[in-house]
């Protein structure tokens, strides 16, 4: 999609990973999707922490306000800063007859699925993804380990195009 100049290999520069491994980045808008999803997970937790603080800590005369403040600060940091980092560590490449999906940095997994081994393909779109015009691609193989490989953060048109590419390979190879 976008061309990223080859960074010098700095292990702490997230974008360098994709560049050095020759992977395409996922759509930057996926960061917004992740951010909203994270917010939907964390805000209820923070509210829960506040209620716990108000009901219990004040009741037993502890340091009231500490837990509430900590919960909201941590939630804000996680919501604001983490998603874009996580997104930059997803990468994919449609190669010659194979799909390559890499994710994570602390625990990085780099998966390759040959198109020939694909059983069927899903293109999914959640409500938040639809908002940003994104889709995710799920590739099913018959292996027990890795029976599904998910690639999120693709533009809806691109996901559909990738599905067609993979589908053509399945047909040609089994015909």
């Amino acid at each position: 999609m976008t061309d990223i100049p080859a960074h010098p290999t700095d292990p702490f520069d997230a974008e360098a990973i994709n560049a050095t491994e020759g992977l395409d980045p996922v759509d930057p808008a996926y960061a917004q999707v992740l951010r909203i999803a994270t917010a939907l997970n964390l805000i209820p937790l923070a509210i829960g922490a506040s209620v716990f603080d108000a009901l219990l800590i004040r009741h037993i005369g502890g340091p009231y306000g500490l837990i509430t403040a900590a919960a909201w600060v941590i939630a804000a940091i996680v919501i604001v800063s983490f998603p874009s980092r996580r997104v930059s560590r997803w990468g994919y490449k449609i190669g010659e007859g194979q799909l390559r999906v890499a994710r994570g940095w602390l625990f990085r997994t780099d998966t390759i699925v040959p198109f020939v081994r694909v059983q069927h393909i899903d293109v999914g779109q959640g409500p938040i993804e639809r908002w940003f015009g994104l889709s995710h691609l799920i590739v099913h193989t018959s292996g027990t380990h890795n029976s599904t490989v998910t690639l999120p953060g693709l533009h809806a048109d691109l996901a559909a195009a990738m599905r067609e590419t993979i589908r053509r390979h399945i047909q040609t190879d089994f015909a």
């Binding site: 625990f107 997994t109 998966t111 390759i112 081994r117 193989t141 018959s142």
Partner: protein, 505 residues
């Protein structure tokens, strides 16, 4: 419905058949364990003081269950057509299922203890559809009808016209002439295998049982208690001598421990593998075994994905191995891979491997080792156990000394075991070896690999290492196939070569 109608199965005229009437007897037997569900109700009746109602309630429960079984039997019918099996079932909601012979990978025949007495067998159709609930079964029809049905379907599959529909009335006599016996186990071999099957797990069970039922046993004797051995000696007037030589009691306890370990090993081996036969059929390897529950399983040769050779640190010295095959069509939830040779030397295993076109690396094969970092997990566990134990000791709990001792054992074990993680690329397949206590070698043809993960994390990356994980069809109870902690370049190279392989047809 009589047996004759069932045996007439293989004619092509459309006549519906029912399951064998003895199936109802099987339902009665199955009521035994099922009536346990009824116990809470009985207890409730008892507690509320309605004792008079217990017998009618149990009676009604039995009657309803039997009635339901009878209705189900009445409403279950099947039809064996020229090229398909049709099954209709269900009392209220009817289910109609058609299975073309072409889609049936194989027919399995299973007989439990009661089924064998009644001469009936459960017939399962393996269609290769995902999930067990998608596979149809007939529970149960007469054994000879089951074997006739299997012969029909197999004949259809292998395009042989001569369908010997009425063949074979004994379960041992396998039909079809071209079947070749690959491996069989006689009582002598079973005994030998059982001796190596010495299990400490059984000891734990017996020990726990002894503790639990201590007061209930008709004899007051605990083999694990040296005091009981002294008591025995007392009966024979030997008590003075035994007390003088306390070690005799210890030896007695140890001998009985050993005896239980060996006896349970031999018993499980005999029950599971009695009259073990592995035969090569046109399309599959067929395995029949079992003393009380006889199973008859076919592993289609083309569906074999990987072979796993398991041995033990002790039996390895005598050259004994076990061979398992990982297959796409797995039979039942308990067994994810098929044990095709439970206990044999390598020269017996090699012909079986030849049948599935998998080669075993010869002795001269050079193996590459995983990095020693694979011991890290064990080391962390060891440190955890040690600190936990020491904390307990510092609180004055003497049992805490178990912690450091255990930690030392775990640490030494994981360091030692790390040296046994090895792999070799044999050109068309990868061999992965691991384990010191129970060494196992996985032979994975490149063509079976569906996807490859190259994993690295914050520990492996600075060391320039990566872990390869392979997605292979058909789960293995022995865990995912992976090569841990090998140099990144080697991992990438191996990945490229594996992915270049063509699909295993």
């Amino acid at each position: 419905m009589s047996d004759d109608a069932v045996i007439a199965a293989t004619e092509s005229e459309p006549d519906w058949q029912r399951l064998h009437p003895a199936t109802l007897a099987l339902a009665v037997v199955e009521l035994g364990p099922r009536s346990l569900q009824f116990l809470p109700a009985v207890a409730a009746l008892g507690f509320t003081g309605n004792w008079v109602w217990i017998v009618p309630a149990v009676g009604a429960f039995l009657l309803i269950s039997l009635g339901a079984a009878w209705f189900q039997w009445l409403r279950f019918r099947f039809l064996v057509g020229a090229d398909e099996v049709v099954i209709e079932s269900g009392v209220f909601s009817r289910q109609h299922r058609t299975i073309p012979f072409d889609r049936i990978q194989d027919v399995s025949i299973e007989q439990g203890l009661v089924s064998r007495a009644l001469g009936i067998a459960k017939v399962g159709f393996e269609t290769g559809a995902g999930g067990k609930e998608n596979d149809a079964s007939l529970d149960a029809i007469a054994l000879d009808a089951a074997q006739a049905l299997r012969t029909t379907i197999r004949a259809h599959r292998s395009d042989e016209v001569a369908a010997t529909a009425t063949a074979a009335d004994a379960p041992e006599a396998l039909p079809a002439t071209e079947d070749r016996l690959l491996f069989a186990m006689g009582p002598r071999q079973l005994l030998l295998a059982g001796l190596f099957n010495f299990s400490l797990a059984a000891l734990a069970v017996v020990g726990a049982g002894m503790q639990f039922f201590d007061g209930l046993l008709p004899f007051d004797f605990n083999v694990f208690n040296p005091r009981d051995w002294i008591d025995i000696a007392e009966d024979y007037g030997l008590d003075q001598w035994v007390i003088a030589h306390r070690w005799v009691a210890g030896v007695g306890a140890a001998i009985s421990l050993l005896f239980i370990g060996f006896a349970s090993g031999i018993a499980t081996m005999f029950f599971a593998n009695w009259d073990f036969r592995l035969t090569r059929e046109p399309r599959a390897l067929r395995r029949t075994r079992g003393l009380t529950t006889r199973t008859d399983v076919a592993v289609p040769v083309k569906r074999v994905q990987a072979a796993i050779l398991v041995t033990g640190w002790f039996r390895q010295r005598f050259g004994w191995h076990e061979l398992r095959l990982q297959s796409l069509a797995s039979d039942g939830g308990k067994e994810n891979d098929h044990q095709v040779v439970p206990f044999a030397k390598l020269d017996v295993i090699d012909p079986v491997l030849d049948e599935v076109a998998i080669r075993r690396p010869d002795a001269g094969q050079s193996w590459q080792r995983s990095h020693g970092i694979v011991a890290l997990g064990g080391m962390i566990g060891a440190v955890g156990a040690t600190t936990g134990g020491l904390v307990a000791v510092s609180f004055g709990q003497d049992l805490g000394w178990f912690g450091p001792a255990l930690g030392l054992l775990i640490g030494a074990g994981s360091l030692f075991g790390a040296r046994f993680h090895r792999w070799a690329d044999l050109g068309e397949q990868v061999a992965i070896r691991r384990g010191a206590w129970k060494p196992k070698t996985t032979l994975l043809p490149h063509a079976s690999v569906q996807s490859v993960d190259l994993k690295s994390d914050f520990i492996l990356r600075p060391l320039g290492l990566a872990t390869l994980v392979f997605g292979v069809p058909g789960g293995s109870s022995l865990g995912a196939h992976e090569i841990p902690a090998i140099p990144l370049a080697a991992a990438q190279d191996l990945r490229t070569r594996i992915l270049a392989a063509r699909a295993r047809s």
